[in-house]
Subunit: 102 residues, 2 copies
Amino acid sequence: MRQCFYPSLSKMPLSHILNALSDPARLKIVKILLEKGEQPCGGFRMTVSKSTMSHHFKVLREAGLIQKRGEGTTHITSLRRDEIEARFPGLLNAIAAANKPL
Amino acid sequence: MRQCFYPSLSKMPLSHILNALSDPARLKIVKILLEKGEQPCGGFRMTVSKSTMSHHFKVLREAGLIQKRGEGTTHITSLRRDEIEARFPGLLNAIAAANKPL
DNA sequence: TTGATAGTTCGATTACTATCGAATAACAAA
DNA sequence: TTTGTTATTCGATAGTAATCGAACTATCAA
């Protein structure tokens, strides 16, 4: 698996994070990671193409929200929970709480 | 002052809210409202043109985040704090808390 | 009525972004 | 080595959005 760059959360502007989360597909990805933990790409069961999924993963990764590790032919995606919480306390909780009424 | 439509927060998707907040100028507007309370348009001291400001106010209003009331020739903008808090508990706090390290 | 102030709307431009299919890369199993 | 699986990258396209100046609306004051 190719190496990729993971930005430091400590210098990440909040607007970048919110921009990454403002797409419904990406918000769904994050919600699934929050609720079910780390997933392979196929674990998200979205209706968009593989290349579009890769694009969304890239946006989330460059915003500092997710990381990947390779396991054989699959890439496991996980949230950078602790770092996000340290930089933006309560943000993930607010997103998780918003699941209920939807 | 012309009447305008204020959407119900109860049906507002989180992604719309986050999209409205994902622009640095709009995030700054919300932060100012959080810290200093309601403001006339001129109270924000931003570097963009008046028409651009109007555009950002419209996006924030249509996302259910702000409301306006006319007072003479000025329009006072305020946050819909309680409604936002009821629909997305903790979201405004998370934004307010993120001010500190910046 | 005339002028000043505050803000919105319109039309245009420019830049960004979501999406896809095709090509590619990495890996495992046969 | 060949084949199948998983996922990324590339190039194109279509839609969206940020920005501005100019024109307009509304209100108050002189």
